[in-house]
């Protein structure tokens, strides 16, 4: 499992930059980032190299932060691979809450973040179906 940070942000100019600035100052490396917005507020979800440290410094700067677990899945960069994984989850009767992708780096396989209603079971199912699940 991967530890993900969720940060509450207002839907305003510079609110995401406010979060990344704190990470930069504390030399915390972003692995993945996604933002979800509503007309009034948003949630910025991030995966970093030092989740606990990141949470501490963000809280110190006045942010509301929650750590939760998500599943990281290594995909093959070819048509239909995400489809394959999503079907494995759906066939197990599990519900995906959201997905987003890791920052891609050269020569590395793409990694996708999955948040599913029953995380442990989802991880089992994926592993049993030979899907490569990665850690922090």
């Amino acid at each position: 499992m991967i530890k993900q940070l969720s940060v509450f942000v207002e839907n305003e100019v510079g609110s995401l930059a406010g979060v990344t600035a704190v990470l930069k100052e504390n030399k915390i490396n972003l692995k993945a980032a996604a933002s979800f917005d509503t007309p009034e507020f948003g949630i910025m979800r991030i995966v970093v190299d030092q989740p606990e440290e990141a949470k501490a410094v963000l809280i110190q700067e006045g942010f509301v932060v929650k750590i939760s677990e998500v599943i990281g899945v290594e995909l093959v960069d070819q048509p239909g691979d995400l489809d394959r994984v999503l079907h494995i989850i759906a066939d197990a009767g599990l519900c995906v809450n959201y997905i987003y992708s890791f920052v891609l780096r050269e020569n590395n396989a793409p990694v996708m973040i999955f948040h599913v209603n029953q995380l442990k079971m989802a991880e089992e199912v994926l592993k049993n179906n030979n899907v490569k699940v990665v850690n922090q």
Binding site: F8, E10, T38, F41, G62, V64, N97
Partner: protein, 432 residues
């Protein structure tokens, strides 16, 4: 037009004599029938016999909204409950309503006072008056309703809401006068404008109150609708609408002093201020039977003049209100205290989060937005849960104050703190 010239145009001597006689009787009644006042007077070492005239009023104790709350619901009533023919209630400071009661005689006096108000606005028996104040526990609707019937006018009891229907009735019935909050009247004016119906109405007078408004707003109403607009003041604790109102000269609101004796005090020292100075308005209800109140602190800031008005009335006049000595807000005619918001938020979490109330007037209607700082204990990673939280807070707040509230979740420390104490209210309406 003066409805009751005998009472509205007395000489100062006559008024003071009448008030004195009524005060003596009232204090005697209250002392023997209301334990709260008897105890208070005993503690202060005064007896009914010490009150000989209106000049002795300052010897008597004050009454506050808290006293009404502490004696909820009927503890301050001075008559057996069988004598009470009606109950009204308004919101209190911490969720508990302020309850008031009326005997048949109280209702008659209320009708008389409202008839005086309407006559002052040149409304008479040939008029059709649309009452667009809320009917129900709020005193506005029923108060004006029975006063208008007493006057002999034709009453159209519309209550609030449904502006399209309001303007249809107004046109179809040939309504000539309307009673509602000034902001609602501006909203009706816009509805008429949109329907191209401004020249299809016979409206000529409006009696507006239940919320603070400015002279500029009055002129805007008068210009938009080509009518005359008048200010009516009242509060349920004293009676309801019809405690005071203004005439064609718009130089202060005439207080019906034969029933309600006004004083202006310094809200800090609680001493009467010098003549003409601004302070907190205090009323003693010298004729009320069910709920007579001695020196009730309205928390409304104003000044008073006893000069005769050009309209011929000799009644004391209070100036337009200059604010409040407490933190009460009047939003769409509803009394709202920040403490109610705080108490409601407390219901949701263990402790109250930081919040800010932003009151604005949008399209002439008051709008209340409440910012709530998100805290870790109620922050969820999921948008739908946060949206659910927003809805839940809005729902709880609406139940607490009886007004629709727009809730906005904001980041921690968004709301400015000064000297450790957060600012709770931003009122953008600029009404005073």
């Amino acid at each position: 037009m003066i409805w009751n010239e005998t009472k509205e145009c007395m000489s100062r001597d006559e008024i003071v004599t009448l008030q004195g006689a009524r005060l003596r009787k009232m204090v005697d009644r209250v002392y023997h029938n209301v334990e709260f006042y008897r105890k208070k007077m005993q503690q202060m070492g005064i007896e009914p016999g010490d009150i000989r005239g209106i000049e002795d009023l300052s010897k008597l104790p004050y009454t506050t909204k808290d006293d009404l709350r502490d004696n909820y619901p009927f503890g301050l009533f001075a008559v057996p409950e069988s004598e009470v023919v009606r109950i009204h209630a308004s919101s209190g400071t911490t969720g508990k309503a302020t309850v008031v009661g009326y005997t048949r005689r109280d209702i008659e006096i209320w009708q008389e006072c409202v008839a005086r108000v309407l006559a002052m606005a040149n409304v008479g028996k040939n008029d059709k008056i649309q009452v667009s104040y809320g009917y129900g526990l709020f005193t506005g609707g029923l108060g004006v309703h029975y006063g208008a019937e007493n006057l002999g006018a034709t009453v159209v009891p519309m209550s609030t809401g449904n502006s399209k229907k309001q303007i249809t009735m107004m046109q179809d019935f040939g309504v000539t006068a309307i009673a509602c909050t000034p902001s609602y009247l501006l909203h009706i004016a816009e509805t008429l404008e949109e329907a191209n119906a401004l020249d299809k109405i016979k409206l000529r007078a409006a009696i507006c109150g239940a919320e603070p408004w400015t002279d500029n707003m009055r002129r805007e109403i008068e210009r938009k609708l080509n009518i005359k607009a008048y200010d009516i003041y009242g509060l349920s604790e004293i009676m309801g609408p019809g405690v005071a109102s203004d005439c064609d000269y718009h130089c202060g609101l005439h207080v019906f002093e034969d029933h309600f004796v006004p004083e202006i005090i310094n809200p800090e020292t609680l001493q009467p201020v010098e003549a003409g100075e601004t302070g907190e308005l205090v009323f003693t209800t010298v004729t009320k039977e069910a709920l007579p109140l001695i020196r009730y602190r309205t928390k409304d800031l104003t000044s008073i003049t006893y000069d005769k008005c050009e309209c011929g009335r000799t009644l004391a006049r209070i100036s337009r209100f200059k604010g409040r000595s407490d933190d009460m807000l009047i939003i769409r005619g509803v009394n709202v205290f920040p403490s109610q918001i705080e108490a409601a938020l407390l219901e949701i979490g263990e402790t109250s989060p930081h919040y800010l109330m932003i009151v604005d007037r949008i399209n002439n209607l008051d709008n209340l937005e409440v910012w709530v700082e998100v805290e870790e204990r109620f922050f969820s990673d999921e948008i739908k849960q946060l949206e659910g939280l927003t809805k839940k807070i809005a729902h709880v707040l609406q139940n607490a104050i009886g007004l629709a509230v727009k809730v906005k979740l904001v980041e921690p420390k968004t709301i400015e703190r000064s000297e450790g104490k957060a600012k709770r209210v931003i009122d953008k309406r600029k009404l005073v």
